[in-house]
Structures are given as structure tokens and as C-alpha cells.
């Protein structure tokens, strides 16, 4: 029998039992749709987690003042100022993978506006800081270059500080006293929420680094250009580990450390957290796909069940076909094609249903779903394979009937 004739015969056989064919397909339809939806939901969740982590600064390396050993006593992290603004500029100049390096001075204390006061952490920053943190300004403006270089008495405040000092009132152009130094609010930062470690990132106050150094904090004369930390942003797509290695090498050179001598700085990054989160969301997506695959498998068993019933019910038909010249393999092909046709048609309907369900979920429930072509191809391919796999046994059973027994079957 040629292919066109085989397909025609199979289609005819399926049409004769419309209801049964539809119910059999239902298993495959649900299975394929479930796989597509589950993978879409899993991928969507994974993408959202990745996005969140990225917003927290997954491509950021923190360089902290390190310990200095003097007379056998090893100081803790930050006990001695060992990194400088110049280290940051050198990093940007010498390491290609680094997009920006923002040196910061940090201190904390009471800030006062009018009759309100609030205890917060404040930072002295350079223009790179907001770029590194990807932190836009909600109201007002950024520092101007003259204010940056000339220790201008200006300040940017976080949302939490704004709420606590000014309530509902407009904080712009108001004066805040930070350690008795009056600074004018020029802008309010956008809300950033909690950090990975649970700190309120909006409870902060930013001022030009020179202002912090000369007017507010006051740093010892000897190490005048020292900073507490340098926040380094690595370029998108660059290798974090490699950037970190280059950075360490550069700092050791600049600090004239001999081979074998301990680093006088600490380096931290968030990529480990990112990896853990990614791994866990991958496991989640895999789990969803596995659950959906089970329903696809059950659909396949449904096909086998129906095909076995069909072979028994159509034994006389098989006998007749053999009597008029069908060989065993013609019968095998016919039943196999019927099974594959059931699963392929079911698979196609399942794809349509799966895609529309995923889109509907995204729209109605607001869950992020990411449809992937790979998942769709996988589900459809799997459906076809299930048709062949579960169709083969009944088809072989049919093909092995003896014509005389099949014809006489009651």
C-alpha cells in the first residue's frame, strides 16, 4: 500500500469511530498542553528570578578595605584604609571587562530636617555609583560636576529617609543636617527595596565623595584619598571570574604586594547566590516538566489501550484485508499509522491549547510565562514517539493474526 492510500485508510478508520478517536486524543492533547504550559511557567519563573537577581547586582564585585598585619597582629576587614579612589580609576582604565568602578566612603549617624530626625547610613560617592547600582532618580536631579568636584553641599536621599524626615511633604530643596553640616536635597532616589541580606536599601543618603571626606566624615590626613569600598560593575557577558582575577592582580601590583604576601583587600561578589538561585529554579522547571511528562505517558497508554480494543474489535476486518492480499506488514503499517495519526493530531491540538493556555495564564493570573520553541518541539516529538511506541504492540498483534483465524473470529 502506498503512503497516500495508507493515510486515507487510517483517516477513514478514525472517522468511523469519531467519539472514541476524540477521547483517545484527549489524553495526548492534555499531556502535550500540560508540558508546554508547565515549561512556559517554569521558564517564566526562572527568567523572573534571574531578572530579580540581576537587579540586585549579580555582575557586581565588591572590593573592601582589607586587613593589615602589623607586628604579628592581624587587623580585621576595614581596620585600616587600604584602598583608594585611584585604585578605582586604575581599574576602569586597565581592565577591559570592567564597565565602571565606584569608590565609596561610608558612615552612619543622625540626620536632622526641621524637627524630624532619623538615624541612617550615608555614602560619599562618585558619578559612577548610580550607574553601577543601576539606580535612577525618581524626583529632582543628579549631582552636577561642579558639585562633585568642589564638595558641594548637596545630597540625594532614599525613599525611606524621605518618608521619615519629610513625610508627605516635598523633600526637594529642603535642608538636611548631617553631622551638623547642612546639605540641600537635590533629588530623591527611586525605591529599590530590600537587598539580598534583608537590608532596606532605601534607608540611605548619598553625597559627593569630596563633601563626605572634607565636610562630613573627615578622614585622616595621611590616607586622604582612601575609601571604604569600591563597587565594580562587570560588563554584560564578561566572565566574572576572569574579571575578578584581573582586578586582584591589578590591586596587588598597585599595592606593591610581594608574592606570598596576603592580599590587603577583600573581594566579594553575588555570583554564588545567583548560581544557587538559578540551580533551584532550574530544578523547579524540570520538576514541572517531569510531572507534565507523566500525563503525556498516561495519554500514550490510553492510545495503546484503545488500539488493542480496536484490533480485537476489527479482527474480521483484518482477516478480510489479509484475504484480499494485505501482508502482515501492511496491517502493521495501517495500525501504526492510525496510532501515530491519533497522537500527532492530538499533539497539534495540544500545542494550540498549550500556547493559548500559557498566554491566558500570563494575562489573567499575571504569572510570567515564557513559551519556548524547544518545549513545543519536544512535546510534539514526544507525542509522535508515544504514538509509535504504544501503537507498535497492538499493530504487531494485528499483523501476526493468521488470515483464517481472523476471518472466522466471532
Amino acid at each position: 500500500m502506498n503512503l497516500a492510500a495508507t493515510l486515507r485508510v487510517a483517516l477513514l478508520a478514525l472517522r468511523i469511530n469519531k467519539m472514541r478517536s476524540a477521547l483517545t486524543m484527549l489524553g495526548i492533547i492534555i499531556g502535550v498542553a500540560a508540558v508546554i504550559v508547565m515549561i512556559a511557567v517554569g521558564n517564566g519563573a526562572q527568567a523572573r528570578v534571574e531578572e530579580q537577581i540581576k537587579s540586585l547586582g549579580s555582575n557586581i564585585i565588591m572590593v573592601l578595605s582589607g586587613s593589615v598585619t602589623s607586628g604579628g597582629a592581624r587587623g580585621g576587614s576595614g581596620s585600616q584604609p587600604t584602598i583608594f579612589e585611584e585604585d578605582a580609576t586604575a581599574m576602569m582604565r586597565e581592565i577591559d571587562d570592567i564597565q565602571a568602578a565606584a569608590p565609596t566612603l561610608r558612615a552612619s549617624g543622625q540626620v536632622i530636617a526641621g524637627n524630624a530626625n532619623w538615624s541612617t547610613t550615608f555614602y560619599g560617592i562618585t558619578p559612577e555609583y548610580l550607574e553601577v547600582r543601576e539606580w535612577p532618580i525618581a524626583e529632582g536631579r543628579n549631582f552636577e560636576t561642579t558639585e562633585m568636584n568642589g564638595s558641594g553641599k548637596v545630597v540625594l536621599i532614599g525613599q525611606t529617609v524621605a518618608e521619615n524626615l519629610f513625610g508627605a511633604a516635598n523633600p526637594l530643596d529642603q535642608v538636611i543636617r548631617v553631622r551638623k553640616v547642612p546639605l540641600t536635597v537635590v533629588g530623591v532616589l527611586q525605591r529599590k527595596g530590600q537587598s539580598m541580606s534583608g537590608q532596606d536599601q532605601d534607608d540611605t543618603l548619598l553625597m559627593p565623595i569630596n563633601t563626605a571626606r572634607t565636610r562630613v566624615i573627615g578622614v585622616t590626613q595621611a590616607k586622604s584619598r582612601s575609601v571604604n569600598s569600591i563597587m565594580v560593575k562587570v560588563k554584560d557577558g564578561a566572565d566574572m571570574a576572569q574579571a575578578e582575577a584581573h582586578l586582584k592582580e591589578l590591586l596587588r601590583q598597585r599595592h606593591r604586594l610581594q608574592p606570598g604576601q596576603d592580599d590587603d583587600f577583600y573581594v566579594r561578589n553575588l555570583s554564588e547566590i545567583l548560581q544557587t538561585q538559578e540551580a533551584s529554579s532550574k530544578v523547579m522547571a524540570l520538576l514541572l516538566a517531569a510531572v507534565a511528562s507523566v500525563s503525556l505517558l498516561v495519554g500514550g497508554i490510553g492510545i495503546m489501550n484503545i488500539m488493542l480494543v480496536s484490533v480485537t474489535e476489527r479482527t474480521r476486518e483484518i482477516g478480510l484485508r489479509m484475504a484480499v492480499g494485505a501482508r502482515g506488514r501492511d496491517i502493521l503499517t495501517q495500525f501504526l499509522v492510525e496510532a501515530v495519526m491519533l497522537s500527532v493530531i492530538g499533539g497539534l491540538i495540544g500545542i494550540v491549547l498549550g500556547i493559548s493556555t500559557a498566554l491566558l495564564i500570563a494575562k489573567l493570573a499575571g504569572w510570567p510565562t515564557a513559551l519556548s520553541a524547544a518545549a513545543i518541539i519536544l512535546a510534539a516529538g514526544f507525542a509522535a514517539i508515544i504514538g509509535i511506541f504504544f501503537g507498535y504492540y497492538p499493530a504487531r498483534k494485528a499483523s501476526r493474526l493468521l488470515p483464517i483465524d481472523a476471518l472466522r473470529y466471532e
Binding site: M1, A4, A5, L320, M322, A323, V324, G325, I404
Partner: protein, 239 residues
Amino acid sequence: MAALIQVDGLAKDYQMGSTLVHALRGVTLDIAAGEFVAVMGPSGSGKSTFMNLLGCLDQPSSGRYRLGEQEVSQLSSDELAQVRNRQIGFVFQHFNLLARTSALDNVTLPLLYNHAPLAERDARAKKRLAQVGLAERMDHHPAQLSGGQQQRVAIARALVCDPQLVLADEPTGALDSHTSIEIMALLQQLNHEGVTIVLVTHEHDIALFASRIISFRDGVVVEDKANVPNDAAALLIKT
């Protein structure tokens, strides 16, 4: 006339539980091309087994069977399928038409296994349906046809591959007497056109339409005689 069928010591044993049943105990006979043979006998006489062996639906336990130029008792099941397709047409007692399938598609069925192209399949099937007088009812399903019409569709199906031999197993068993005679008239007409027909029946008056009557009992041939056939077409005009 050249022998179309030559059987020599044809025997068939069945294992029924623990006992061995000798359904056919060595049959030797020739059937010439163009003959119209009726095979008779009570149930259990071996006539159905003989038919199944002639139709290549079953293989003999021993003995030889030559159909046309070919020794078929040694063929594989695929080769037998081809012999059934090309050289033999079957007509059954219960028609064995595919339900919910048009008369035309039923007649086309053997051609599907003949690798005939679609246009040729349709043309040949239509020609045969016209020959049995059902040109008007090609699109009817078996359930929409009378018993006699269904058997005509079955005969058209048997003829569609242009076989040398038509095997009819109780073709009138499920029909009333008038329709039976109509069917016999059709078979006689085909026989006149040169098709060899072997008919199994247990009704004596049906056997009388054949030109040769072979009687079986207990797995052997007990009588093999020539017969002056009754003319079924003439009988139809009379009634």
C-alpha cells in the same frame, strides 16, 4: 483444457486440545480453467478446510497444491498474500464488507494492496460495480443495501483484481431463495466469461447450478461427478 488447480495428497491436521483432528486426509484432484465446481458435504466433512487451502488462507500439513504455474504449498505468508491478491477472489457467506464504508471503497480495497494508482483504482472498481448492476449505488454504505446487493458488492470486490479463480464460501447462505438464484445467475455469467469458480455449499439445489459436483465426507472425496447445470438466468425469467 489446462488444469488451473492441481492438488495431490492434500492433507490438513489440526491440534484441538490434546487430540489431533484429521480435517483433510489426502485429496487428489484437478480443476480445469473455466470450470464451475460445487463442493458439497455435511459440516465437518473437510470441505471448508479444502476451500481455505485452495484460497491460500491456510497451509496444508502435507501434500502439494499447484495453482496455475505456481507451486503454492511452499510459499511464505507474504507470497501467499500476493497470490490471494492477484489470482483469487473471495466471496463469503456473510459478505464481509467494511461497515460505514461506501460500496466503491469496499470494492477498491484489494487494489490498495496491489499498488494501483488512485485513478486506476477508482476506474476498475466502478467498472466492476457496473458489471454487478450497482453503478447507481456506489456511495451507499453496506447498511443501506439489501443482502443481495451487499453480496453483489462482495462479488465486485472479488473480481476487481481480475483473478483467474473465484472462491465462494456459501455465498447464498444468508440470502432468500429468489436472491440466491440472482446471485447464482451472476456467478454463472462470470463463469461464461471465463472465470473459474469453486463454490462451497450444503444446499443441493444451489450445487445444481455448477457443472461439476465434488462431495466430501470425513476428509476425503466420496463423489466427483459432472453435472448439466441448471440455467439460473432462465429460472429467474420463469418465476
